[in-house]
């Protein structure tokens, strides 16, 4: 097999950048941003040059080293990892450039870019590895990068709590994957993807389901699937570019990657397909419902991310792999665009994230308005925009694979998506500016009623708004992202004969739809009707001229009357708290109050006490009286004499 050392360059340049920026950050000062960006841009170009090699046969491959004779580590750039590598380095590069503007004036400017480069390296490890163990290493490292970046503002307790939560939940997922890898190694004795997929017949159906389940637990944690999704909204504590790159475009789609990568496993286990598809559909719906109740612009986007990943997982879960990956591709662009657009707003409003305190920004920030509008149109799936093609492909895929219930949930979610995204758009950009309104008029003074009111809005002292980098640094990447946000979906125009269908035909093979599919375009029509309905409701509630006039009392009323199930995100946090956190703390308390003092400490204490007691006992023999010793000696001698004379003599 021919080796491609260029893969090493793609893989290691971001790591080099991370080390460089970490070690010499204070010396590099503002150069950290351009250097960090370049070290992500070069791998993007390098990956482009490997396009031909990646799309022939099993793709470009580079052997690294043999851990054991049968456990060989290597890098592999094939069609699946090519898509991810393009997005990771391409969108990653744009977000790096954007961050130069967004993070200008931060105290730890270089540290941010070091983390960001480290994330790129970790994510490339995940997608370029040609085996399960290397993938798992990358899987863990992206969790670490995510932890570091969510906790970037480590002086803020909420950020620290959010980063811990994200890390712990992700480690739960890592354990699931580790378990799956153990089963794979035990049954097949190999870790390379190709070797494992060639011997799937060695698994019994139960073992196959166990492997899929273990892998999916990892995917659910990383990709924020119910019930392991609770970390994602909290992860918005990180800087906005991080939310765009890690918690929207790339890292959270690692679950989609893994399932697509392990397509042979899922093809062989229909139970796993039903499980993953159902969880995906449930997540899509849950995220959309919760997205309707948020006031923090980043949390709205976070729940929409969760919902959209639900679509992707549903797509790859039921077996429509190319549709799921297409939705990943389009989502990476339009969600990055939405987050970066929101970042422009947040940046210019001195870290205000509460949409109730925005309003009327259309005139103040026309560029952000345009960017967000295009993003919203795309995520909703307006025909012609890229989101339309991918959402349509996923929904048709679920139906073609015989899951009408998931299809229905997905269609319903599309309507909800339109509602909450247009709600965000209207509240943020239309009407009059409410930033100078007393928050209590909006019902914000009651934290328990306000729900997700941003607790760290205007009193932030991170230097935003003081040092301004050139505006094009932030608007340029957003403008570039507009092109794929609108157009990338056209790759799928024409179904199987489209460039996208052709691209993945060699990987996932040809698929015969089961009976009961809808005629072409009917799904699109139904979805369009629901989108129109969602748009209309949002318009009636937030967008029409009358609603805009009395926006303040309306928002106040909505804030106060928000059902508590929604403000508490369906009590997932409370349930996890009650089921796992509280029992763990209780168990820990039991050990610290009972086992530790009364068993472990007591054991040590009793050992020392008994040594002391023995000492006292023997001490009383030590009288210091020579005659007493002599008596004891004589007595002992007498005993010997008696033994030998009377008892010993008898033998």
């Amino acid at each position: 097999m021919q080796d491609y050392p260029l893969l090493l360059l793609i893989w290691l340049l971001p790591l080099f950048g991370a080390v460089l920026l970490w070690a010499f950050g204070p010396q590099l000062k503002t150069w950290a941003g351009p250097i960090g960006s370049a070290l992500v841009g070069v791998p993007f170009i390098a990956a482009l040059t490997l396009w031909g090699a990646a799309t022939t046969g099993t793709g470009a491959h580079q052997t690294l080293f043999a851990w054991l004779p049968q456990f060989v580590f290597g890098l592999q750039l094939d069609r699946i990892s090519l898509v991810w590598t393009m997005i990771i380095t391409g969108v990653g590069f744009l977000i790096h450039v954007y961050s130069i503007g967004y993070m200008a004036g931060e105290k730890a400017f270089a540290r941010f870019f070091a983390y960001l480069n480290f994330f790129i390296f970790a994510m490339l490890t995940l997608v370029l590895s040609d085996n399960f163990v290397g993938m798992l290493v990358g899987w863990g490292l992206v969790g670490l990068a995510s932890y570091l970046l969510i906790g970037y503002y480590f002086e803020r307790p909420t950020a620290v709590a959010a980063s811990k939560k994200a890390f712990v939940i992700n480690v739960v997922g890592d354990i699931g994957i580790l378990y799956a890898v153990f089963v794979i190694v035990a049954k097949i004795g190999a870790i390379g993807y190709g070797d494992v997929f060639a011997h799937i017949a060695k698994f019994s159906p139960g073992e196959l389901f166990a492997v899929c389940l273990g892998l999916f637990i990892g995917c659910a944690a990383k990709s924020a699937q119910v019930p392991l999704h609770t970390w994602l909204p909290d992860a918005m504590e990180g800087p906005t570019p991080v939310s765009a790159l890690i918690h929207a475009a790339t890292m959270v789609t690692a679950g989609v990657y893994l399932i697509a990568r392990c397509a042979p496993l899922w093809n062989a286990s229909s139970d796993a397909r039903v499980l993953v598809g159902s969880i995906g559909a449930l997540t899509a719906l849950t995220g959309a419902i919760l997205g309707c109740a948020q006031w923090d612009i980043k949390r709205i986007l976070a729940y929409s991310t969760m919902s959209q990943i639900g679509y992707m997982i549903m797509g790859v879960g039921v077996g429509a792999y190319d549709a799921g990956i297409l939705h990943f591709l389009t989502h990476a662009f339009f969600k990055a665009q939405l987050f970066l657009g929101a970042g422009i707003i947040i940046h210019n409003l001195a870290n205000q994230q509460d949409v109730r305190l925005m309003g009327g920004l259309r005139k103040k920030m026309p560029f952000a308005f345009a960017a967000m509008t295009i993003g919203v149109l795309s995520i909703c799936g307006i025909p012609g925009f890229s989101g339309y093609f991918s959402k349509d492909a996923v929904l048709n895929g679920t139906l073609a694979h015989g899951h009408p219930v998931m299809w229905a949930v997905g269609v319903l979610t599309a309507g909800l998506t339109a509602y909450y995204m247009f709600r965000m758009l209207f509240v943020t950009f239309l009407g009059a500016y409410r930033g100078d309104v007393d928050p209590s008029e909006l019902g914000l003074r009651h934290p328990e009623l306000a729900g997700t009111a941003n607790p760290h809005a205007a009193d932030d002292e991170h230097g935003h708004g003081h040092a301004h980098a050139p505006a094009w640094l932030m608007s340029g990447p957003v403008a570039l992202l507009m092109i794929p946000t609108v157009l990338i979906g056209w790759l799928d125009f024409g179904g199987e004969s489209s460039p996208w269908g052709q691209f993945f035909a060699p990987v996932f093979g040809k698929f015969e739809p089961v009976a009961g599919t809808l005629p072409d375009g009917l799904t699109g029509l139904i979805v369009f009707v629901l989108i129109a309905a969602g748009f209309t409701v949002a318009y009636m509630r937030y967008g029409n001229p009358q609603a805009l006039l009395d926006a303040i009392p309306r928002l106040r009323a909505e804030t106060v009357r928000m059902p508590s199930a929604l403000t508490h995100a369906f009590y997932f946090d409370a349930a996890i708290d009650a089921l796992f956190v509280k029992p763990s703390i209780a168990l820990g308390g039991f050990f610290s109050r009972v086992i530790d003092p009364h068993v472990i400490d007591a054991g040590v204490r009793e050992a020392s006490i008994s040594a002391n007691w023995l000492g006292h006992l023997f001490r009383s023999f030590q009288t210091g009286l020579v005659r007493a010793y002599a008596l004891a000696l004589a007595f002992g001698a007498a005993c010997f004499a008696i033994y030998y004379v009377w008892i010993g003599a008898g033998r």
């Binding site: 001490r619 030590q622 210091g624 009286l625 020579v626 005659r627 002599a630």
Partner: protein
Amino acid sequence: MNAPVEAYIIVAAILFFIGVVGVIARRNPLIQLMSIELLFNSANLALVTFARSWANNAGHIFAFLVITVAAAEAAIGLAIVVIVFRKTTFVDVDEVATLKG
């Protein structure tokens, strides 16, 4: 001269008993040292008796060894007694109990 072996052994036993009682019952260290000499010599008597009766010279040799050890013991014992007497001005082994635990 040809008394039976038992007679010698009985004498040795009596001597040994007197010696033991002397060591245990008396508190004067000089008396105790003398009692220890009695113990040594009762042992010597027994050794020599058996050596003669079994015509085995090992017993004689052991007797000489015991006499040597006894001399050394007396020298060290008397030296200790003298030192203790210098320090305390009384001669009573029960008062010398500084090693009490």
